[in-house]
């Protein structure tokens, strides 16, 4: 199941529903929470932290009003709040003001690594919403498969034995290894084209993947 939780904060009344539709259509089981102001987003982040259900991804416009209907201004506080409260959650910025010095400085200082966990999208570029969705799906599926591989095989290279501590830490789960493996292989088969190269490399440390065939064939190495 693709039960991801995605926060989108965008005040533009045309862009917000467009993003909501695009993401919900691609990820129908997921929570796509689209909000238009900093105050609403702050409440949503606080609720998520209090409920122990962090977002998997946050997508923030740079210029946002404090409350719905107010004047939009460059805001860094929401990004900071999310990074503090949910440090594991990547924040993706969308902006039409890339040449604004505050935004330039924020991207350079807070998101210097424009790689897997930190990106921005220029709203002046044609097709940016689709690119954003494409990147988001790659990130979400890749992170999930990476976590599933770690859950199943442990945080180690193939062939190395597991520490007793790690083995003890895995007790009490409700899903068997057979089913975990079947679900993981189903995920690999179903989302192979959605994984980034790093995730594909990680998968290939444990699995043989024949992607020349349709459907893709997967087995343990």
């Amino acid at each position: 199941m693709n039960d991801f939780r995605i926060l989108i904060v965008e005040d533009d009344p045309l862009t917000r529903p467009e993003l909501a539709f695009l993401f919900q259509e691609a990820l129908p089981d997921s929570l796509i929470l689209t909000l238009g102001s900093i105050s609403e987003a702050r409440d949503a982040v606080s609720d998520a932290v209090a409920g122990g259900r962090h977002f998997d991804l946050a997508i923030l416009d740079f210029k946002l009003p404090q409350i719905p209907g107010a004047h939009a201004e460059v805001d860094e506080s929401l990004c900071a709040q999310i990074q503090k409260a949910m440090p594991e959650v990547p924040v993706v910025h969308i902006t039409g003001f890339l040449d604004d010095p505050t935004i330039e400085k924020h991207l350079a200082q807070i998101h210097p690594d424009r790689g897997l966990r930190s990106r921005f999208f220029d709203k002046g570029t044609t097709g940016w919403p689709e690119e954003l969705l494409d990147w988001s799906e790659k990130y979400l599926y890749s992170e999930r498969v990476d976590r599933a591989i770690t859950d199943l095989f442990g945080p180690r290279a193939p062939g190395l034995p597991m520490s007793d501590e790690a083995v003890r830490g895995s007790l009490g789960k409700s899903t068997s290894t057979s089913i975990q493996l079947a679900l993981l292989m189903e995920d690999i088969r179903g989302h192979w084209n959605k994984f980034d190269e790093k995730a594909k490399s990680r998968i290939r440390t444990q699995f043989q993947v024949d992607d020349q065939e349709k459907p893709i064939r997967v087995t343990l190495l």
């Binding site: 089981d29 089913i179 043989q208």
Partner: protein, 413 residues
């Protein structure tokens, strides 16, 4: 016989496989033997472990491919045998648990542990038999519905539950599977599909109440987009129409199963499970009230999809009848099944009643006549027969967290 290079590497210098009619065991020895080094913790200490694996596998094979269940034979390589690797599983998987998967050609194989730490030899052999019977059932399930032909996420709980059922069905003297039912006993409020091993109780219930063939038929007759629920409902439609549900998102038999599961000691009941009753006792209660004559009391509760709660009422002398009124929302009313019964001092169930509604928006009500000398206690069960779990997307309808209020009034003689 085709062996996976990786598995051979992990086992490290295995012996020649030991074979039976349908199984090939790849293993090494713990201790060195003439001409062979020992594998230490990666090898078996005694051949009796291997023998128990073979015996349980062959017994399972015989039953599952026999005339009753009639599963097709599993896909194998040209040797005609399923391979089981007996090894130190933590070398491969974090949790060290037995597993079943398949190679690139879809040929299933099994991994089972070369050692276990059960405190007695008998317990160790029971664990071994149970483990391979469980994994062998996965082999057959995935033979009927191969990897990639079903949405594994929909079938995961039923796959696991079928394996636990088969452990109990094929190895009836083996108590190993009892360990799966600790949480089932202590947390009836856990959803069926959230506790896949414990769901083996529902599968056993269906097999006993209807026919063991029903379980095999769910696997064999399901269509590509079926879930276990839709496949079961399709069989009910043709063979047991009184249990068929017109609403695809409700499983009415779950109400029967939940209520019967309170009476684990009753041999006339398809939920009869004396081993589980002896080990864990009654299923856990969500509420308890001592009913005095003329007193009225109220309880609040909520129950998730495919889960239930039990409430116990002890009755003081002077109480002649008890009225139960359950108030809930219209959506909850659609999925909730509430029942009450008197339990006699000898543990028999008497005066079982559904709580019924007199009309739209009216509470569900049942009136129970009580003779305190013939009553040990009264049990009220509230089961949620809705099958839809809550999803991250709040716009998707679900059956979780259905709230209710129960008003109980005890009448005087």
């Amino acid at each position: 016989m085709r062996l996976l290079p990786r598995m051979e590497n992990i086992i490290g210098r295995p012996n020649e496989p030991i074979t039976s009619e349908h199984l090939a065991i790849v293993y090494g020895n713990l201790n060195p033997a003439p001409g062979r080094p020992g594998l230490g913790i990666r090898g078996v200490r005694s051949m009796s472990l291997v023998a128990h694996y073979i015996e349980a596998f062959e017994r399972l094979y015989q039953v599952i491919t026999g005339p009753l269940l009639d599963y097709p034979k599993p896909k194998t390589d040209s040797s005609g045998k399923t391979v089981a690797y007996v090894f130190h599983i933590p070398d491969l998987f974090l949790d060290g648990e037995p597993f079943t998967t398949h190679d690139l050609d879809g040929v299933p194989f099994i991994g089972v542990p070369c050692r276990n730490s059960e405190p007695t030899v008998q317990a160790a052999m029971h664990r071994a038999g149970s483990a391979i019977a469980h994994e062998a059932t996965h082999v057959f399930n995935w033979t009927v519905r191969p990897f990639g032909s079903i949405r594994e996420v929909d079938w995961a709980w039923f796959n696991e539950a079928t394996c636990v059922f088969m452990e109990r069905f094929v190895l009836p003297g083996n108590p190993d599977s009892v360990r799966f039912f600790l949480d089932w006993s202590d947390q009836p409020e856990t959803s069926l599909d959230a506790a896949p091993y414990a769901a083996g109780m529902l599968v056993s219930y269906l097999a006993k109440r209807f026919d063991p063939r029903l379980i095999a038929r769910i696997w064999k007759e399901s269509k590509p987009l079926d879930t276990p629920f839709s496949a079961l409902n399709a069989i009910f439609r043709t063979d047991f129409p009184e249990h068929h549900s017109e609403a695809a998102d409700i499983l009415p038999i779950f109400g029967d199963y939940s209520f019967d599961s309170y009476f684990l000691w009753d041999h006339t009941n398809p939920a009869f499970a004396p081993d589980i009753f002896l080990r864990f006792g009654n299923r856990a209660l969500s509420g308890y009230v001592l009913l005095s004559p003329g007193v009225e009391t109220a309880l609040e509760g909520g129950v998730d999809h495919l889960a239930c709660r039990y409430y116990r009422f002890d009755v003081e002398s002077g109480v002649s009848a008890v009225r139960f009124e359950l108030t809930t929302s219209a959506s909850a009313c659609r999925v909730l099944d509430a029942r009450v019964a008197r339990v006699t001092p000898t543990g028999e169930r008497r005066n079982e009643q559904h709580l019924h509604s007199a009309g739209p928006n009216a509470p569900l009500v049942a009136d129970l006549t009580v003779n305190s000398r013939e009553t040990d206690h009264i049990v009220l069960m509230v089961a949620n027969c809705g099958i839809r779990p809550r999803r991250a997307n709040p716009d998707i309808a679900h059956d979780d967290n259905q709230h209710y209020t129960i008003k109980v009034s005890a009448a005087r003689h």
